[in-house]
């Protein structure tokens, strides 16, 4: 059995753990091309005092959290609505998930063309006389709140969560719902005590994936965000391309911090989901 797992485990061990170990080593000052240098925690200490990093932590958390919550709510609502569609369900489902294979990079550029001040919305606003010039349209890209970043994540992740939730809404679920209804449950009671608990595992697991992804994603915030404050991965890359090679350990340290934060979150999720799901249907009071 363990031997059969080897082909699947090998890439994870070699690529992921190997890459991580290398990242940790570099964050501790391992830079052979600069000659031998003492191993130190200097890069981590420098992070604490760097205003770019300090501003990035809150921004990254906020963007990841808002994107995940909005995506999860919209995904559940969409999945429940799609389930109700009768004959056209196949077509609706297809349309719902049509953007799943689109890369985030393409999504981000599309948001730029749509929401940027030289974008479609701004030009429409100008054409119908809402603003004097397209440039007067409210800034939705490179703005304070990261509107376009969240919009891109939501656009991309709603179908991802939704498809998994749809898969969880099987015929068996419908039967239990019927049973609840025949026992006198109203629509809200049915949703609250039957449907929601049954789809919670799907929503939670996909939400964790979405949060981890949005927390560590680089291409979307770099295209749609600001140079400062920027998200953690963007700050890591800024340090990585600093002309001073001495800044390289700091870039690796940020990457390690992102990894540890997301890792902790996943551990919390595993612990919580075990506790919640262990209680079974209707047990959450």
């Amino acid at each position: 059995m363990p031997l059969l797992l080897a082909p699947a485990l090998l890439p994870i061990v070699v690529l992921f753990l190997g890459g991580f170990a290398f990242g940790v080593a570099q964050s501790l000052g391992y830079q052979p091309y600069l000659g031998s240098r003492p191993v130190s925690l200097a890069a981590y200490r420098a992070l604490a005092g760097d205003p770019a990093v300090r501003a990035a932590v809150g921004l990254t958390f906020r963007i990841a959290l808002v994107s995940t919550l909005v995506s999860a709510v919209l995904a559940v609502v969409s999945a429940l609505l799609i389930r109700r569609t009768g004959r056209g369900r196949r077509l609706v489902t297809l349309l719902f998930q049509v953007n799943l294979p689109v890369p985030h990079l393409v999504g981000a550029v599309s948001m730029l063309l749509l929401l940027g001040q030289s974008g479609l919305l701004a030009r429409l606003g100008h054409a119908v006389g809402l603003v004097r010039a397209p440039a007067d349209f409210p800034a939705l890209t490179a703005d304070r709140f990261g509107v376009a970043i969240v919009a891109e994540y939501v656009w991309k992740e709603v179908p991802f969560i939704g498809v998994v939730v749809l898969a969880a809404l099987t015929g068996a679920v419908a039967e239990i719902e019927d049973a609840a209804r025949s026992l006198g449950a109203g629509p809200w009671q049915q949703f609250r005590h039957v449907t929601l608990p049954l789809i919670t595992p799907a929503v939670l697991s996909t939400s964790v994936i979405v949060f981890a992804f949005t927390f560590g994603s680089y291409e979307v915030p770099v295209l749609l965000g600001r140079p400062f404050p920027a998200t953690l991965p963007v700050v890591a890359y800024q340090s990585y391309v600093d002309v001073d090679l001495a800044a390289r350990p700091q870039a690796m340290a940020i990457a390690v911090v992102i990894t540890v934060l997301v890792g902790l979150l996943v551990l919390v999720y595993l612990r919580l989901s075990e506790r919640w799901l262990g209680r079974g249907l209707g047990g959450r009071r």
Partner: protein, 418 residues
Amino acid sequence: MTRARRPLAAAALALAPVLVLAGCGGGSSSTKTDATARLDPANWASVQKAARGQTVNWYMYGGEEPLNSFVNGYVAGRLKKRGVTLNQVKINDTVEAVNKVLGEKQAGKKNGSVDMIWINGENFATGVQAKLWYCGYPAKLPNSKYIDYSDPALANDFGLPVRGCETPWQRTTSVLVYNPAKLGAGDVTSVASLFAWAKRHPGRFTYPAPPDFTGSMAVRTFFYDAAGGPQQFLGGFDRRRYTAPAAKLWDRLNALEPSLWRRGTTYPAGQPDVTKLFNNGEIDAYLTYDSTAVQSGIDQGTLPKGTRSAVFTAGNIGNYSYTAIPADAAHKAAAMLLANELISPAAQLVNAGGQGAGFTPVLVTSRLDAADQARFRSLPQPPSQVPLDVLAMHTLPEVSSAYVTALEKDWKANVLQK
């Protein structure tokens, strides 16, 4: 089964960001690599022979369309005649190529995938720090007879001695690009008059956030102005000379900030964003390090017709830019052929003529034969462009990269993060 798999999936997810940074490898595998026998640049015929059949991977900033078409059209055609394939690898920032070479050196890769880099001072200095460069060949290139390697401006790249580790191929000079319907002749004579105009017309000027190459140049232009010129900064970094003018500069830039694009709450991330703002009519002026590309931009429709450029009376920043070959490059012979091709009178003429990238030539024109001299003299003079001799006359030197880095870091702390 599920339980065992979940933590692994979790670990995979969690490690993704590290991989993005640590796992930058790969690259196009290519053709015939250099023979193990040492290459002798002094024996040019042997270099030509070794280069035949090679593909040279030239890593260069890919954001200037006229330059890209010059490289993939004219230059690639010339190399093809000598049996060499040119593969232009477009990058956003030169440091990406330097990082690739560093990564390959660290991994002990012998046949490096980067054969040549178009490079500027800071990244050249990074490579010198890590001993990345192949040296000693530039003066031996046949076309080097047209170049004056004793010129101090050329022998030093941002204050760092070149020491035969890179070949100059372009001179760049900066200009202010502007819309003459919005800015008058009096508004473009100095940094002070430009700033005064910007304050009267809020939101119509900006510059990219350093360390963007052009943004960094813009801040140096303002720094020279605050300090009364670059003369006192030639030579190594001197904090006593730097502190007072830098403090004055941050005050000025912070005073200007509310009048910039988006009220200065943010800055464009790079020069392509700035040109887009100009083309969309969101700003009316910007600084560029690519003085002679204004006309080619107009010709290709990427800049509005009627766009003009100007240099401040106090001068405009300019420098030589170079090509460098990494010591572990797999195709050094082809790379040397390319370096030589780029400094041929014909290529330099195409370049200067505005059909190419439109850069000021690096050749000493008096060393050319009479016919080539005449060709350079008869280059067209479009109204959008500052004449080549005026550009050269006003050029302000670049200072040591230590000043550049200090300005970039301090701009971030004193302007961007304020």
